[in-house]
């Protein structure tokens, strides 16, 4: 997929934010949130090519879109999440619903449907989930039976129920996953087809501006031409092919929502005076509620950006990377939103301030497009294979590269990142030798440690660059301090939690207590407080009280 140049991308972002400022003020969002109401008029405007045309990002130029790449989509998704995660989800559902077509559609199908989505402002929904088929789509119950005339398949009769479908009650067209005689397949279903009806709009904890509904399909007749790819049985592959970047979009949602909450807390902390000084001057406040969140969010950003750039550079799949990005950013976003409520105290607990809503909204990023626990499993599975394939060298090789980076640039936390990677590699090897991965708990926990160590390494790489992101609001000193903080914490977690994990299951930890090199990990903690002070200062400078 082609990418948009930086100037055009930023003009688009400016247009989006200017639209949001004018048309979607917080008072309106708050009202819609209370009423559990989907703002159809706003979505239609956002899809209007004369006003914004945000959905055109996902559509290739030859079908009337603007051919956004993964990086562009990440930036727009982050911005959407800062506006409202419910509205963002409405847009995302169209992106997602368009995906099976983008990935598996024939040229004729793309010509017809992508062009219609582009020009007719169609809201699209992606309908895979069922009562017994969520993370595990193998138990798909929705059936698509052949309709045969003169010995030729002319269509399909689809019957079944879908649930928790974003845009479910409001979409114009649906991409529906159903079990055809040849296996799971995607079909295009239009809203007015006979036998098709959406159920009631769910009353959700958060993202209440996003319409979520079940779908019921009762013998819905769909022309054979609506089978995506014109071949049965490709559905799961088509679904999986896009996880790398669909998960990147949810990662951007976690990042955007979390960053918005954090910024509000930073601005507030400079106004609220207690015991003679603003909260922003108190380490007990900043180093607990502000700095660690900023660090986790920026670490996740660096990983999202690296993965997006790799996808735009032509690498395919990157499922494990997409999962690491989603897991890290959505968990970081949740932490940040939770702490933002705490940071605003009594105000944070009211609906007069947006952080309360952000906290409810952002929870979804740990659930949809694969829960955090599914991410832990996916990340473990992907990297366990690498560990075996390289005979345990995978993370040691990565650590060597970190050492080289540290020799070149000692300010990026690469030394601690190397310690984290080596500790992780040693823990994984011990798990292999003692066959500990037969316990699911061990595998999921490894997934968590893997994600953190890889993000730390990525953040160190990014922190060595002159400008690590075009969006970043603080200077090199600031983000290098963040990279060091994240690397130190990760090294400590990889060593201590990794060791504890093994000790909790096995008879003994063999030589692991030496191999995780806890002495070096302890020594690497030096300078932590000074770095946290620096980050607190940089945040205050970047996000001034209004």
């Amino acid at each position: 997929m082609a990418s948009i140049d930086a100037i055009s991308r930023n003009l688009m972002l400016d247009s989006l934010m200017a639209y949001a400022k004018r048309r979607i003020p917080y008072d309106l969002i708050r009202e819609l949130d209370a009423k559990n109401e989907f703002p159809a008029d706003i979505l239609k405007e956002m899809y209007d090519p004369a006003i914004l045309g945000v959905h055109l990002l996902m559509i290739p130029e030859e079908y009337g879109g603007v051919s956004g790449g993964s990086y562009d989509i990440y930036r727009i998704c982050e911005a959407l999440a800062r506006i409202d995660l419910g509205i963002a989800t409405g847009v995302f559902a169209t992106f997602l619903g368009t995906d099976p077509l983008n990935v598996g559609g024939t040229v004729e199908q793309k010509e017809k449907w992508l062009r219609r989505i582009a020009s007719e402002r169609l809201l699209v929904a992606y309908a895979a989930t069922e009562a017994d088929a969520g993370s595990d789509l193998v138990n798909l119950r929705t059936r698509a039976e052949h309709v045969v005339a003169n010995g030729r398949i002319t269509g399909y009769r689809i019957t079944g129920n879908k649930q928790w479908i974003s845009n479910g009650g409001v979409a114009d067209m649906y991409t529906v996953l159903a079990m055809a005689p040849g296996g799971p397949s995607w079909f295009i279903v239009e809203k007015d087809m006979e036998g098709f009806s959406p159920n009631k709009h769910e009353d959700k904890h958060g993202i209440r501006l996003s319409n979520t509904a079940g779908l019921s399909l009762d013998n819905v007749l769909v022309p054979a031409a609506n089978l995506i790819g014109m071949e049965e049985g490709k559905g799961l592959l088509q679904a999986q092919a896009v996880f790398g970047y669909t998960r990147l979009m949810v990662a951007a949602f976690g990042l955007g929502a979390g960053s918005e909450a954090l910024e509000q807390a930073v601005r507030y902390s400079q106004q609220r005076i207690q015991a003679g000084t603003p909260l922003s001057e108190k380490q007990g406040y900043t180093h607990k509620l502000i700095v660690p969140n900023a660090v986790r969010l920026e670490a996740a950003r660096s990983y999202i950006e690296e993965t997006a750039n790799r996808l735009d550079g032509g690498e395919h799949g990157l499922q494990t990377e997409g999962s690491i990005a989603k897991y890290s950013a959505s968990e970081a976003g949740n932490h940040a939103a939770e702490d933002a409520i705490q940071a605003l105290g009594g105000y944070g607990y009211t609906k007069d301030f947006p952080v309360e809503k952000i906290k409810r909204d952002v929870k979804i990023t740990c659930i949809y497009e694969g829960t955090s626990e599914i991410m832990e499993m996916t990340i473990y599975r992907g990297r366990w294979q690498e560990h075996l394939k390289t005979r345990g060298r995978y993370y040691f090789d990565m650590a060597d590269k970190m050492d080289a980076l540290h020799a070149e640039n000692p300010d990026t936390g690469a030394h601690a990142s190397a310690l984290a990677l080596r500790a992780l590699g040693a823990v994984m090897e011990e798990c292999r030798v003692q066959k500990l991965t037969r316990h699911q708990h061990v595998t999921f926990k490894l997934g968590k440690l893997i994600a953190a160590a890889e993000v730390a390494a990525c953040f160190s790489r990014a922190a060595a660059a002159d400008k690590y992101s075009e969006t970043v609001r603080f200077d090199k000193q600031g983000w290098q301090a963040m990279a060091r903080i994240f690397a130190r914490e990760t090294a400590l977690a990889a060593a201590a939690e990794g060791l504890a994990l093994v000790l909790g299951v096995a008879e003994n930890a063999g030589t692991l207590s030496d191999a995780v090199n806890i002495d070096a990990v302890q020594a690497a903690q030096k300078g932590m407080l000074a770095d946290m002070d620096l980050v607190a200062l940089k945040l205050k400078q970047a996000f001034k009280a209004k």
């Binding site: 948009i4 140049d5 100037i7 055009s8 930023n10 003009l11 688009m12 400016d14 247009s15 200017a18 639209y19 004018r22 209007d48 090519p49 004369a50 006003i51 914004l52 045309g53 945000v54 055109l56 990002l57 130029e61 603007v66 051919s67 609001r473 603080f474 200077d475 970047a542």
Partner: protein
């Protein structure tokens, strides 16, 4: 008719702070925007384009990233864009800038109207528009609120002390626009931004426009900035409401509090 609109990229001054030690603007992390007065001037020019099918060229001078404002102008409807970008222009004051812009307008070709914002929100000088007119030997109408064209007649409604004045001129003319209070800045849609990449866009150096070095940059600038500093903060006024009697009582209370009276 052919219109050239001059647009300037400025820092969003609502976010700019001054470094008190060095006396310079802290621009890091401050978003750049199109100067709001220029945005309004552009809208006025595009309105005429729509009505009369005129050609509109957007012109800016600045570092390479100032392409952003030219591209934005094209995304909003300008037909063509020109950016003057060259180290030789760096440090130009309003005189040197007017000289360079005028040279560029000559190179662009026959121009009937030049639109400028009244002033830029970063410098607030309001000199560049008139400077361009002078350099080009054009008539100028400043502080315009709206502009109409009737055949070869250009009719501008301009703001004057205590009222308005309607002025008529023949092309070529330079117009500087004030901003309508009601005006909401337009932003281009995603496909409009994407489409603007296909419009002709040129980056010209000093040599390209035949500008002489001695009239450019710091050395071509008669104005030199010695120091930038924020004005001394005035003490905040306290506001009270109520009847005259209550007000008088309040004043007495404050004066007693400050020990002006016993």
């Amino acid at each position: 008719m052919n219109i050239v609109v001059c647009v300037k990229q400025v820092p969003d001054t609502t976010e700019v702070k001054i470094n008190m030690e060095t006396g310079t603007l802290i621009r890091a992390g401050v978003p750049s925007i199109i100067n709001p007065y220029d945005h309004f001037a552009l809208a006025a020019a595009l309105e005429l384009k729509k009505k009369h099918n005129f050609k509109v060229t957007a012109l800016s001078m600045g570092p390479p990233q100032a392409k952003s404002v030219v591209q934005m102008a094209m995304a909003l409807g300008a037909d063509e864009g020109v950016l003057l970008s060259d180290m030789a222009f760096a440090g130009s004051d309003t005189w040197a800038t007017s000289y360079a812009l005028a040279k560029a307008i000559k190179k662009i070709g026959k121009t009937d109207m030049v639109f400028c914002g009244m002033q830029a929100i970063d410098g607030d000088t309001a000199q560049t528009g008139p400077g361009v007119a002078q350099q080009l030997g054009m008539a100028q109408i400043t502080f315009c609120e709206s502009v109409e064209v009737d055949g070869r007649r250009i009719i501008a409604r301009r703001l004057i002390d205590g009222g308005h004045e309607t002025v008529e001129a023949k092309a070529p003319v330079t117009l500087t626009m004030i901003m309508d209070r009601e005006y909401v800045a337009r932003y281009p849609s995603f496909p409009a931004v994407h489409g603007s990449l296909k419009k002709p866009f040129h980056v010209w150096s000093a040599a390209d426009i035949g500008a002489e070095d001695q009239y450019l940059g710091l050395k071509g600038s008669p104005t030199q900035v010695n120091k930038i500093y924020p004005p001394a903060q005035k003490e905040k006024a306290a506001m009270f409401s109520g009847s005259g009697q209550e007000g008088a009582r309040k004043i007495l209370e404050i004066m007693r509090g400050e020990h002006f009276i016993e």
